[in-house]
């Protein structure tokens, strides 16, 4: 396999295992409703920031930054030059020249640079002539290496290389400074490689670089380059890579990517000692997406203090997490061994899950053993792992013990301490039956810890994840009001609407909140002496989903607004047909609210008039236009009129029925009951379920109830026919919605063609037939009976 292909395969397999859960369910922003998970032990917890694939594999948690991993040789190089210049220059100015000055600019702008840059000035001192000469040569090589064939004519190697080799040789021979000689030798090696003279390059390494005793990154880099000469996927090639990987400080990620795991056992034959065997095995395991515990155990047995054991164990935990947890909290399919989905059955998922649980127990036992052995310094980290695995096994007591031990451990880096705090909080959250003030306090302590103390890759991501996870848990524990308010504070998307939008707090309230929850929220907002947590969740600023803020900036600014909350509460009562309660709340709201979007566009016209053939349209002839409050007022008035004027009960019931119909999915005032509308909601693409609200909204059952009342009360045959027709229409809507909700099968496609079940009740169907046959007649009836007469 070619290196590129292998890299792609490696990355692909890692992605498969670790891909952050941003799953597209439909068009629009690529975020699925299941997109939340927090309990991930991020790769940076092991403090090996140069192993890119593992950072990339959890890309979301690293801000999508594929370069999240750092190449330590850059810093090391600056430090070595800083020391070479006797610490008389500024490090950032060394950085400018080494890493941010193009070869061309270095040569052409030297005159300007020397006045601005202390390092450049130092290079130009007569006594530093050799340093300067070296820098010129290295810049020239940098240019050629970066752009070996600028005209893309297959004209490599560059014709300037022999001249440069000559210059470098001259400098090497005339120079006594070890710092420069090592670097010039390295550049000579590079030049020979660029000139397709691998043999000479390796000779340079063997004769001029290998014998030098130094800790400089240059020596490792030079060794790495010698691997280039050898064919890929050979044991000699991989053996050199293992040496570079073990030495550290240069291209460790590239070593892993280029390493051929499939033949690592052959590479083992070149190992001179147990340590080298461990390194080669570890490299193979890093690339392996299956279970690796047996091999890790062997490495531990050979060399208990081997530094990569911590990372390898973390990899196993991350794998387990994906096998056991990910598909439960996301929309990922269950783990399938060998990526064989063609033979995958539900049964396999159950078996896999069971086996993975057992594997988790084995891993936990091994961790316990290492901890008890006490041979490693990273006991804090290992105890976090153990706590995590114990939690997966629902052994919360053991998890608590491990976390306590982690706290007590010595030499714990700051980011590991942060993880201990987070893990402890999550454990407390897990164990608690209720979302208590103590948990709130603990959460706030983490959220308010200064970034520098947290010392993690991106504290903002962690905070948003933590808030999202905690909010969900609080809601699970029955704290809907606090949970929803907390949810509003994360910038993570917690759900997507079929219209492509990401859910906001008001839509969450619409779905989850009861009247008590609304009362609790409003009481919280009005509370005078709030706790820190309460202040946090009742702050006006809400977290805009990250994709929204990226695309729309501040234009998408949903804020916590009491009027909007009251409106949601009023909607809650409307949906429950508690119009009296609804009007009490709506009376508290300013009329100006109804003149704003979306109200002004989506609640208009005469609510009691309905032309079912174009029910979303507001006709200019409707004669009146009501806002939300006015609609409820008028509906209440109509209810009273029914009692007061029984002779007109039929007409009033018909008008009330129209008002309810207009508030359904099919009517012009749908915003009275729901905050969004989509054409796909009543199609096979929707995942509409049967609920009491959906019976009302899609099934039009409330409207039907009033049409039937009107039909009963009517003496006017035309009105009777109209009510019968509309009751039938409601019934048809109901059957259609139920069919989609239950997904009964495509063989029942003709569900909507059933006869109007209320025709029997109607008796004489002369007017009915005329009305159904002639649209104009229907419209004239609609206009006549839809006009308020009181």
């Amino acid at each position: 396999m070619k290196p590129l292909t292998r890299s792609i395969v490696l990355f692909g397999s890692l992605l498969f295992v670790f891909l952050p859960k941003k799953i597209t369910r439909a068009c629009g922003f690529g975020i699925g409703s299941g997109e939340y998970r927090f309990w991930l032990l991020q790769p940076d917890i092991v403090n090996e920031p140069d192993l890119t694939p593992f950072f990339f594999s959890a890309g979301y948690l690293y801000n999508g930054d594929q370069n999240a991993a750092r190449e330590p040789s850059d810093k090391q190089n600056i430090l070595e030059w800083y020391n070479a210049a006797n610490r008389t220059v500024l490090k950032n100015e060394i950085d400018t020249i080494l890493n941010y000055t193009s070869p061309s600019n270095f040569i052409s702008d030297l005159g300007i640079l020397k006045d601005r840059n202390t390092f450049c000035k130092w290079l130009l001192r007569p006594e530093n002539k050799e340093f300067y000469s070296y820098m010129v040569i290295s810049k020239k090589i940098e240019q050629i290496a970066a752009n070996p064939d600028p005209w893309e004519e297959g004209s490599e190697p560059d014709k300037n290389i022999p001249q440069l080799i000559q210059e470098a040789n001259l400098l090497y021979r005339g120079c006594k400074n070890r710092f420069i000689r090592l670097r010039v030798a390295f550049q000579l090696e590079r030049l020979y490689f660029l000139n397709n003279e691998g043999g000479k390059a390796c000779n340079i390494y063997d004769s001029l670089i290998a014998p030098i005793k130094t800790n400089s990154w240059i020596k490792t880099a030079a060794l790495y380059k010698t691997a280039n000469r050898l064919p890929m996927a050979t044991k000699q090639h991989d053996y050199i890579l293992s040496k570079v990987f073990d030495k550290g400080g240069y291209h460790r990620t590239a070593c892993l990517v280029k390493f051929n795991s499939a033949t690592y056992k052959e590479t083992l034959s070149l190992a001179k000692n147990l340590h080298e065997r461990n390194v080669i095995t570890a490299m193979a395991l890093f690339n392996y997406s299956g279970r690796s515990l047996n091999e890790i155990e062997k490495i531990y047995l050979n060399e208990p203090k081997y530094k990569e054991i911590a990372f390898l164990l973390l990899r196993e935990i991350n794998k387990l997490e994906d096998w056991l947890v990910t598909n439960k909290v996301t929309e990922f399919a269950p783990a399938v061994y060998n990526n064989d989905r063609s033979h995958f059955k539900d049964y396999d998922a159950v078996v896999n899950y069971k086996n993975d649980k057992v594997y988790g127990e084995q891993l936990y036992s091994f961790l316990q053993k290492i901890i008890i052995d006490g041979q490693r310094k990273d006991l804090g980290l290992l105890n976090i792992y153990a706590a995590y695995l114990a939690t997966l096994q629902k052994n919360n007591a053991a998890a608590a013990t491990h976390l306590f031990a982690a706290k007590k451990a010595r030499h714990t880096p700051a980011n590991v301490k942060t993880q201990i705090k987070i893990s402890s909080f999550l454990l407390h959250l897990q164990v608690a039956k209720k979302f208590t003030p103590r948990l709130e306090k603990e959460l706030m302590q983490i959220l308010h810890t200064h970034d520098s103390v947290l010392s993690i890759y991106d504290p903002t991501i962690m905070r948003n994840q933590l808030v999202l996870y905690t909010a969900r848990k609080a809601m699970e524990k029955g704290e809907i009001a606090r949970g929803i308010l907390l949810l509003g504070k994360t910038n993570r998307a917690w759900g997507q609407l079929p219209i492509g939008n990401i859910k906001n707090i008001y839509q969450e309230l619409e779905e989850k909140a009861s009247s008590k929850d609304f009362n609790d929220i409003i009481a919280l907002i009005d509370k005078k002496h709030k706790t820190e947590f309460e202040n946090f969740i009742t702050g006006k600023e809400l977290g805009a989903p990250e994709y929204y803020s990226y695309y729309f900036g501040e234009n998408y600014a949903v804020r916590l607004d009491k009027d909007k909350l009251l409106d949601c509460k009023a909607t809650y009562y409307i949906k429950k047909d508690c119009l009296d309660s609804a009007i009490q709340i709506l009376s508290l709201l300013p009329d100006s609210l109804w003149r704003q979007e979306p109200y002004v566009s989506c609640i208009a016209g005469n609510p009691f008039y309905l032309n079912v053939y174009c029910a979303h349209k507001v006709d200019a002839e409707e004669g009146m236009s009501c806002n939300k409050k006015e609609i409820v007022e008028e509906m209440l008035l109509l209810q009273r009129k029914i009692e007061e004027e029984p002779s007109k009960a039929a007409e009033y019931n018909y008008q009330l029925a129209n008002a309810w119909y207009n508030m359904t999915y099919f009517g012009k005032n749908w915003l009275m009951m729901k905050q969004w509308w989509s054409v796909t909601e009543t199609s096979s693409y929707s995942d509409t379920k049967q609920t009491a609200f959906n019976d009302l909204y899609f099934g039009c059952n409330q409207a039907k109830k009033y049409y039937l009342k009107a039909m009963d009360a009517a003496t006017d045959k035309r009105l009777q026919a109209l009510c019968c027709f509309m009751a039938g229409k409601c019934d048809e809507n109901y059957r259609s919605y139920i069919w989609y909700a239950q997904q009964e099968g495509w063989d029942k496609k003709d569900f909507h063609k059933g006869k109007n079940p209320y025709l029997k009740q109607l008796g004489d169907d002369t007017y009915y037939k005329e009305m159904v046959g002639e649209c104009e007649l229907y419209e004239s009836y609609s206009r006549k009976y839809g006009a308020l007469t009181y």
Binding site: P103, S104, K140, Q143, N147, P150, W151, E153, G154, N160
Partner: protein, 365 residues
């Protein structure tokens, strides 16, 4: 004098006057410059070409600069194929796309004359991938196999000076000699100073010149004068009355840019920043002569602006465009030529309505 002889004399005089002036209209080809590196035209850009019946599109395909290590190398490149496809196939709009190669004057200052033939071949390969055996990568950039219209012209853009004229002209001659199809015209851009002093700067050995009636003054000067076009300054270049000894096409300014000055010194140029963008920026304060002062440190559109920086917004009004056109009319020296506007970009075309652009093209007939 008898009356009949008088009449005959008058008739002959009128005839002489009439025959001495050629009243046949000029054959003007409408053209535009497309200078960006990306390889697609927006809907609005395509619409402008169509509405104005533009028949030639000068498309920059290569920037060549001098690199102290590797010599003359391409630093940016654009492709023709997708634009050609969009216009000629998708829009069914016959337009001739002319490749333009920008070469810095520094390249000719530094290049060894002996290396000029190599440079000429390399550049020509990008225009004609089948030029020689080394064509595989060139084809990638400029695929004439898929081209919808034959190549009729190649244009070079270089602000050559007296010092570099010899090498530049040698380069042009070499390109010409390498052209397998002699029907392909070579043209070069002619700056105003080159137009005014052909005796000093020389006359390039090509088929045609494209007179650029803009870039009147040095953009690095902190001055109230509009460096793109200033009528009084431009007029001076057209005062000699002599015709340039090379058939000329005309390029007129229809663009804007912002010049950024730091501590009174030129700092940066931004082509994408328009004056109306600046008016709405809270971190800017308008001052005299199109200058804006930065009143607080900020990062705007990837520009790092510091308190005290000055931004000079330079645009070309309808009037200035018409002035440039009227001056350029005096430079026309053939009956068939192209009038090209610089440049085709959504940001710029919205500054001119159809009538203005149409009138400018028509004014040359």
């Amino acid at each position: 004098m008898p009356v009949c002889r008088q009449s005959l004399f008058k008739f002959l005089a009128v005839l002489l006057i009439l025959t001495s002036c050629d009243t046949t209209p000029n054959n003007v080809t409408r053209a535009y410059y497309y200078w960006r590196s990306d390889s697609f035209l927006t809907f609005a850009e395509r619409a402008v070409l169509k509405a104005n019946q533009v028949k030639k599109l000068y498309r920059k395909i290569l920037d060549v600069d001098w690199n102290d290590i590797q010599g003359a190398i391409p630093v940016a490149s654009g492709r023709i194929a997708s634009i050609d496809n969009d216009l000629n196939q998708y829009d069914s709009f016959g337009i001739n796309i002319i490749p333009v190669i920008f070469i810095t004057n520094k390249t000719f200052q530094r290049i060894d004359s002996a290396d000029i033939p190599v440079l000429a071949s390399r550049i020509l390969r990008r225009c004609l991938p089948k030029l020689d055996s080394i064509d595989a990568n060139g084809k990638h950039y400029y695929d004439y196999n898929d081209r919808n219209s034959p190549l009729t012209e190649i244009q070079f853009d270089c602000d050559w000076t007296v010092a570099t004229a010899k090498k530049y002209f040698y380069f042009l001659q070499t390109v010409h000699s390498l052209l397998p199809d002699k029907k392909v015209n070579l043209s070069v851009t002619i700056r105003l100073h080159q137009y005014k002093y052909p005796g000093k700067t020389g006359i390039p050995p090509v088929d045609r010149g494209m007179l650029m009636v803009y870039n009147i003054s040095n953009i690095k000067e902190h001055s109230p004068v509009n460096s793109i076009f200033d009528y009084d300054k431009a007029k001076a270049y057209f005062s000699s009355g002599k015709k340039y000894p090379l058939p000329l096409d005309i390029a007129l300014p229809a663009f804007s840019w912002c010049l950024i000055f730091r501590k009174g010194q030129f700092y940066q140029i931004d082509n994408g920043l328009a004056r109306n963008n600046l008016d709405s920026c809270s971190f800017l304060q308008a001052s005299k002569n199109g200058f804006y002062k930065v009143i607080r440190d900020t990062v705007y559109r990837e520009l790092f602006l510091r308190l005290g920086d000055e931004i000079k917004a330079e645009t070309i009004s309808d009037k200035q465009l018409q002035q440039a056109a009227s001056l350029a009319q005096t430079a026309v020296n053939t009956k068939e030529f192209s009038i090209s506007l610089f440049e085709l970009s959504e940001n710029e075309i919205k500054n001119y309505n159809h009538e203005t652009i149409d009138a400018v093209y028509r004014s040359f007939r």
